[in-house]
Amino acid sequence: MTYAGVAVSDSDVMHATDEVFELENRSTQWSEVVSVFDLSFRKIEVLKSLLAMQSLSENWDSYGSQPPSTTAIDVGCTFVIRYLLDDDPMPRIIPVSGSGIQLAWKKQDKEITLDIFPDGRLEYVKSCGDEIIEVDEQFALDWGKIRSFLDWVR
């Protein structure tokens, strides 16, 4: 499985303890461990929020939904680790009914949402107040696009 050139295998494993966690990314092509010591506190907090979604119970939304899929959480972690810089605005994160995740940035009237579908697909919506400025239903993790939208809500 590849997201914008980043290989993410189904064997991705996350370990969490109270004080430290590591993201191990193992595939036949490459192997990588991201240590908590290489990440800023702000990014660690976002990753903790994403990982915590694994622990949501069935029917967490009271409408019968399962928790976010492992694939959605993997894509979210990949986004945070690979595409967010330490001084970037950090997203607010909520689970979405039907095993998805939504990341959102807001500055005054400006708002960006990035929906991660259960199968890992991404949808991007940019709005200002009531006006929806841009929608990309097939958003690909692209460094330039991500820098552009983060600068917009910085």
């Binding site: 939504q102 259960p118 107040g129 009531d130 239903e137």
Partner: protein, 130 residues
């Protein structure tokens, strides 16, 4: 896309309040609806299909919140969903006669990101009464 046989129910008036239990984590100040709080647009999406809501005139906030401990309650008028291009159908359930479904233009009748955001911006969180 929604199923072809989905028709908007005209017996649900435009000013009917529709209620949705929402994850309490993220609410925003609502600049569009005279202050108060609103939910993030993800609260109005369900990737499995149409969005479940309750018809406000057929139930009470306590009844709705009683089915989802720890949740908050968001409300919006039926016309907000219609103006976003959605269709509303009654879908009474044995344990919840107020249940309705909102069909959007996404897969299996789910709301698109654009539709969810349009509703989120014109929704409000009902204040908790202790």
């Amino acid at each position: 896309m929604p199923p072809d046989n989905v028709q908007d129910d005209p017996t649900i008036p435009d000013d009917e309040q529709l209620w949705r239990r929402v994850f309490p984590g993220v609410v925003y100040e609502n600049e569009q609806c005279g202050g108060g709080l609103r939910a993030q647009s993800g609260a109005f999406r369900d990737h499995r299909g149409p969005l479940s809501v309750d018809i406000g005139s057929l139930t009470t906030p306590d009844d709705v919140l009683g089915r989802g401990p720890g949740m908050r309650l968001a409300e919006f008028e039926a016309k907000v969903a219609r103006e976003a291009g959605c269709k509303i159908q009654r879908d009474p359930l044995p344990h919840n006669p107020a249940h309705a479904l909102i069909y959007g233009d996404g897969a299996k009748g789910s709301l698109t990101g654009r539709q969810a955001k349009a509703i989120a911006h014109r929704s409000r969180i009902i204040p908790l009464i202790s």
